[in-house]
Symmetry: C2
Subunit: 646 residues, 2 copies
C-alpha cells in the first residue's frame, strides 16, 4: 500500500491568526522555559534533574539519580521540539545548545550503546530486567524520534549515529537469536525504530519494531513471567496487581478489536501498527488498525478528541462510558490519537481520520497548555466543579487549574513537540498532488510532475469558513489538489479563479480538484455556523445534553462568564447561537451566546436537601468560549455538555 | 439534660408484614450462616478464620493469624446480634454456643486483660503502638457492646466481667497518669465504654470515653507523631499519606462543624459525642452534635439515608457533592447514622432525627442484604450500570450484585446486629409517656405512673398509612402517647376510640396525645401517596431529576422491569404515580408505575458518536420497585434519580 508523503517541516511556514500565539509560545516560552526546568534553574517548579542525571551518568558530576524512571524522555521530547522549531526558525545559539546536549548524551552512553540514566546510575545490572515498568525502550524511542527530527532539521547526523548504536544494542538484546521474547511495557520504541529505519534504510530496525509488536500477547505473558523472577524489583506500587491489558498485551495485536488499557500506550502502539502495516503491505494488520480506530472514535472518545475514561490507570473502560467530570483524557493521549490518525490518513486517504486529528489538536492538545505557556493540564475534564476536585477522592486527578510542572512531566514537552511540528499535519504530498488536511494559514511547496509548486493558504479558520489557496508554478503542470471537507461542514462551495465549481468531485471525503496548475486562486467557503451537538444516546452521561461546536472547536461555559452552578443551566436549542469576535477576551476569541434558563436556588428551603418543591427557572443568556481556552482566568466551574430544554 | 429511655428489647415483640422477612432472615439464616463463616465451614466464601484466631490466641490450637487487623470485631458483632435475638427468641442451643465462645474469648484474654488476636498472635510487643490502624480499641468497643447486649438478654455477667478487665486495662493504659495522649484510629470504644458504664455504673469508663473524644485534634496530632516512631509498622498501604481528617482528628471535636473523613468513623464518633453530651449535661457538645447532624442531613446525605460520597477512603467530600454512581454509601455508615440519630432523638425529643433514622433503616440498611440473607452490599450506589463497574476504574468499588462475604466483613454482621435490635428503634419511654418513633407492627409495654401499660401497634406501613395502636392498662393512668408524624406525611388524622381529634397538639414534630390510659384504640391515618422528590438545586448531580418515594421508601428503576439504558427515561411528573401490591414480585411488594418517555437509540447513526441529530422519544410506562429490593433478580442497571420532563 502506497501512503501519502508528509511534506518536510522546513517546507511549511505557518502564519495563522488562530495558531500563531501557540507557535510563538513554543519558540519564545516553552522551549527556553523547559530548558530551564531540565536544568533545574527555576524555583517553584518541581525538580527535573534531567540534565543532572545525564551528567552523573556521564561521570561528569557525582550524585544520585532523581526523578521518574522515564525522566530521560523529557530531554528527548525537548530536543525533538527544538528540532522542529529549528527546521522553521534557524537559531544558531539554540542549535549549539542542542549540539552540546547531544555530546552529553553521547558521554552518558555506555560502551555497548546503552542510554538510560536511571539504570546507569542506579544499577546497571538491572538493565532490561523490568520491561513492564522500566521505560528504557520508551525513552530510547523518544531519543530516536529526537535524533531523526534533529537530522531532518539540521542535516547533522551525529545524534543519528549515537541512536543507531543504541538501536543496534536493542536489536541484539531483543533478537530471537538471543531467545528473547521481551517487548516494551510502554510502547514508543516501535515508532522510534521505524523513523530510524526511514532515515537510515536499515531494515533491521523495521524488523525489530515489527517483532516487538508481534510479541505482545504471546502466552505466557512476558510481563507476568518477568514479575516471577526473584530479582524483579517493582517500581510503581499501583501496578502491583498488574493487569496485562494495561499495556495492551492481553491479546496478540491482530486479535485486538477494542481499545483497552492505558490510553497513551494504546495509541502509541496503534501508530506503530499503522507504520508497520504500510511498510509490510499488511492488509490484515491495517484492518486491525481500522477496527481499533473505529472502536475509539465511535464508542470511546470524548467530543474534545480525548480518550481515557478512567482516572485510575489512565485507561479506557468500556463502550460509551464517557463520564465528564472524572475522566483522565490525558493531553498525551490526544497527541497519540493525532499521530495514529495522521498515519491512517496517509494510508487510507480518507478525510474521516483528520476529522478526529483536528478535533484532538484544536481542543485537547491546546487545552493542555495555558495561554502564557507556563502551566499545563494532564487531565482534560469536560466538567469541573473545583470544590469536589479534592485529594483522596476519585476526582483528585482532576485539577481545576493548570499546574506549573509535573513530577511526571510527560505532557508539557509532548505539547511542545506537537505544536512545533504542527506543519507536518497540514499537508500531504503525492507525485501529482497536494492534499490539504487542515485549514491553517501557511505556505508550502512540493514537486508535482517535475515542477515545484508553491501553495499558500490564507484563512481565519476556525472562526471563519472562508479559505483562499493560491497556487503557483513556473510552468504549467497537471496535478490535483485534494481539499479535506470536514464532516461538520454543511455547505461547501469551491471556486477556481472566481469560477464556481458546480459539481464537486470527492475522493474519500476530500474534494478533488484536477487542475493545470500554474497560477490559480482557489476559494473555499465552508459553512461554519455554530451548531448544537448531541451524543449517541448510549452515552449515558450525555443524555439530554448538548454541546456547542463551531468548526472543530468545542465550546464550554465558564463560571466567570455566567454564574455558579453551571449544571443548572438549560440551553434553548430552538434559539439561535449568536457569535461575535471579542478582541479583548482571552487574547481575542469568538464568543458564542445562546438563550436558556437556569434552575435557581432562590426559594428552595435551604435546610431541605430533598423535598417535593417544584423547580423554578430564570431566563438567562449563556456565554460560551472555546474549550481550549478554559481555565485561563479565575478558577471556577467549567462545563461542556449542557442540559437541553426538551 | 434528661434523655428518653429505650425500652428493653425483650419488651418489644415485632410481627410486621414488611419487617418479618428480615427478622426471620436474621434468626434463621444470618446468625447460623455467619457462625458457619466465623468457623470457616462454608466453601465459596472468603475465609474468616475468626474463631480459629481466638483458638490460636488462647493457645488451644497452633497456627498463624489470618484476616484483617479488625477480624475479631466480626465475632463481637455476631455475639451482639445473637444477644438481641435471644432477648426476643430464647434459644438454649444458641445460648450454649455463645457461652462457649465467651469461654474462648476469656481463654484468649491475656493476663492483664488484653483481648485482640491480631496482636496477641503476631507480636504482643506491638500492642497499642499503632492506634491509627491497629483497631484494638475498635474491636474492644464491639466486644463491650456485645457483652452488654448478652447481659441484658440473658442476665449472665461473665462476659461483662471479662470486658471490664479489658476496659480497666484500657483505662490504665490510656490514663493521663501514664501521660498517654492516645485515642482510637477508628472510633467505637467510646460507645462500648459508655454502655459498660451504663450497666456497671463504673464512672471510670464514662470518663475514659470522654477523654478519648476530647483528645482528638490535639496538636501535635497523635497519629502523625505515632508514624514518626522508628517501630511504627504500617498496616494499610492506602493510608501511607495519612490525612488526619480521615479519622476526624483534624480538629478538636468541639471545633468540628462539618462531617469529614471516613463516614463510619465519623458517625460512630458523633454517636459517642451524643452519649457524652447527655451524660455530662454538656450543652456545648450537644450543639456540636447538632451542627454535625445538620451538615450531614442538609448537605451530605443521599436520599436513601446513606453517606460517604467518595469511593476512595469511603469518605465525606464537600457540601452537595453527591454523585450517584461512584459513591461509597456504606451500609455500616447508615447504621452509624441511625445510631447517632436515635441518640439525638432521645436527647432532643424531635422527630426530625427519626425522619433520617427511618430513611437509613428502610433504604440503605436493607439494601445491604439480599432477600435470601446470603449476600451483601457494602457500597450502596443510587445508579448502577454494570458494564462500567469494572476493576481499575474509579467505580470498581461499586458492585452490581451483592457479594457472598467480604474480606473486610464489617457490613454483614453489622446488618445482623441492627436488624436483630430493630425493637430498640421503635419506642422510647418516659415516666409518663411512650414515644412511637417507627410504624412497625409490634407489642411493647412500659411503666407509666405506677401502671404497666401495654401497647400494640398494627399497620401495613410503609405500604399503607393506617396505623392502629391499642393501649391497655389494668387501672386507668394519666399518660401521654407521642406519635412521630414523619416529615413526608401531608395529611394526618388521629382518632381515639373512634373520636376524631380535631386539633392535634405537636411537640417537636411528635403528635402528643394526653390520655387517661386504660383501654384505648388510637387510629392514625397518614397520607402516604407516593411522591416526586427533588434535590436542592445545589446538588449538581440531581438537577433536572426526580426520585419517587412512598413514605420512607425510596423507589428505583431496574432494567428488568423496564429496558436497558435507564438514564434515557424521562418521567412525566404531571402524570399520576399509580401503585399496586404485587404479591408475586420480590416476595410481595408495592410496585409504582408512572408515565414517561424514553430517548431512543433507534434511528441514531450507529457509527456516529456525536452529531446534530435531534433526540427522538417513545412513550413508556416506568415501573419502580423499592430501592432496598434492588439487585435481587437479574444483574442489570438500576436508577433512583430519573430525568424529569420539564
Amino acid at each position: 500500500m502506497k501512503k501519502l508523503n508528509m511534506i518536510p517541516l522546513k517546507n511549511v511556514r505557518i502564519s495563522d491568526p488562530f495558531w500563531d500565539r501557540y507557535l510563538e509560545l513554543v519558540k519564545d516560552i516553552l522551549i527556553p522555559y523547559q530548558w530551564d526546568i531540565l536544568n533545574d534553574r527555576l524555583e517553584n517548579v518541581e525538580t527535573s534533574h534531567c540534565i543532572k542525571n545525564f551528567k552523573i551518568a556521564a561521570e561528569k558530576e557525582t550524585g544520585e539519580f532523581y526523578g521518574a524512571v522515564f525522566q530521560d524522555s523529557d530531554l528527548a521530547k525537548w530536543i525533538e521540539a527544538v528540532s522542529y522549531s529549528l527546521a522553521v526558525h534557524p537559531d544558531e545559539d539554540l542549535e549549539n545548545t542542542v549540539d552540546e546536549v547531544i555530546d552529553l548524551i553521547e558521554a552518558a552512553q555506555q560502551e555497548d550503546g546503552y542510554i538510560n540514566t536511571y539504570f546507569t546510575i542506579k544499577d546497571k545490572s538491572l538493565r532490561f530486567t523490568n520491561l513492564q515498568e522500566g521505560h528504557e525502550l520508551y525513552c530510547a524511542g523518544h531519543f530516536m524520534e529526537a535524533a531523526v527530527a534533529y537530522y531532518r532539521a539540521t542535516g547533522k547526523d551525529k545524534f543519528i549515529h549515537i541512536m543507531q548504536r543504541f538501536a543496534d544494542l536493542i536489536c541484539d538484546e531483543f533478537s530471537p537469536l538471543k531467545n528473547s521474547k521481551g517487548y516494551p511495557g510502554h510502547q514508543e520504541v516501535e515508532i522510534g525504530l521505524f523513523k530510524l529505519y526511514e532515515v537510515t534504510g536499515e531494515t533491521r530496525y523495521l524488523e525489530q519494531a515489527k517483532m516487538f509488536l508481534d510479541r505482545r500477547g504471546e502466552q505466557p505473558n512476558y510481563f507476568m513471567e518477568e514479575m516471577k523472577r526473584p530479582d524483579f524489583k517493582r517500581i510503581f506500587d499501583e501496578l502491583k496487581d498488574y493487569d496485562v491489558s494495561y499495556s495492551q498485551s492481553h491479546l496478540p495485536i491482530r486479535e485486538q478489536k477494542t481499545a483497552e488499557g492505558h490510553a497513551v500506550r494504546a495509541v502509541y502502539m496503534y501508530s506503530a501498527m499503522a507504520d508497520i502495516a504500510a511498510a509490510y503491505n499488511d492488509e490484515e494488520l491495517l484492518s486491525v488498525c481500522e477496527a481499533l480506530w473505529n472502536n475509539i472514535v465511535e464508542r470511546r472518545m470524548y467530543i474534545s478528541g480525548s480518550i481515557g475514561s478512567s482516572g485510575l490507570l489512565e485507561r479506557f473502560t468500556t463502550d460509551y462510558d464517557l463520564p465528564n467530570n472524572c475522566n483522565y483524557s490525558e493531553t498525551c493521549a490526544s497527541i497519540g490519537l493525532a499521530l495514529f490518525g495522521r498515519r491512517m490518513a496517509q494510508i487510507e486517504k480518507n478525510s474521516k481520520y483528520y476529522d478526529v486529528v483536528e478535533r484532538a489538536l484544536y481542543n485537547t492538545v491546546l487545552s493542555g497548555i495555558a495561554a502564557d505557556g507556563k502551566s499545563f493540564f494532564y487531565v482534560n475534564p469536560l466538567e469541573v466543579w473545583p470544590d469536589n476536585c479534592i485529594p483522596r477522592t476519585s476526582k483528585e486527578h482532576v485539577k481545576p487549574t493548570r499546574q506549573p510542572w509535573f513530577g511526571v512531566a510527560c505532557c508539557p514537552p509532548n505539547i511542545a513537540r506537537t505544536l512545533a511540528s504542527l506543519g507536518e499535519y497540514i499537508y500531504f504530498a503525492e507525485n501529482n498532488a497536494i492534499w490539504v488536511n487542515l485549514f491553517i494559514s501557511s505556505k508550502t511547496k512540493s514537486i508535482i510532475g517535475n515542477q515545484e509548486v508553491s501553495l499558500e493558504l490564507k484563512t481565519k479558520f476556525p472562526y471563519e469558513g472562508y479559505i483562499r489557496i493560491e497556487l503557483s508554478s513556473e510552468a504549467a503542470v497537471n496535478g490535483k489538489i485534494y481539499l479535506r471537507v470536514p464532516d461538520y461542514v454543511k455547505g461547501c462551495r469551491v471556486s477556481v479563479d472566481g469560477r464556481n465549481i458546480e459539481t464537486l468531485k470527492y475522493s474519500g471525503g476530500y474534494c478533488a480538484l484536477e487542475l493545470e496548475i500554474q497560477n490559480q486562486t482557489i476559494d473555499i467557503y465552508f459553512d461554519l455556523t455554530p451548531r448544537f451537538i448531541r451524543a449517541n444516546p448510549l452515552v449515558k452521561e450525555d443524555i439530554g445534553k448538548v454541546a456547542v461546536m463551531k468548526g472543530p472547536l468545542v465550546y464550554c461555559l465558564e463560571e466567570m462568564d455566567n454564574e455558579a452552578n453551571l449544571p443548572a443551566y438549560y440551553i434553548d436549542t430552538s434559539s439561535e447561537l449568536s457569535e461575535h469576535y471579542d478582541s479583548e477576551m482571552l487574547g481575542g476569541t469568538m464568543v458564542i451566546q445562546c438563550e436558556g434558563r437556569k434552575m435557581i436556588q432562590e426559594g428552595w428551603e435551604a435546610e431541605k436537601l430533598y423535598s417535593e418543591q417544584k423547580p423554578v427557572f430564570n431566563k438567562k443568556v449563556l456565554t460560551l468560549i472555546p474549550y481550549p481556552y478554559w481555565g485561563n482566568r479565575k478558577t471556577g466551574e467549567m462545563l461542556v455538555w449542557m442540559k437541553e430544554s426538551i
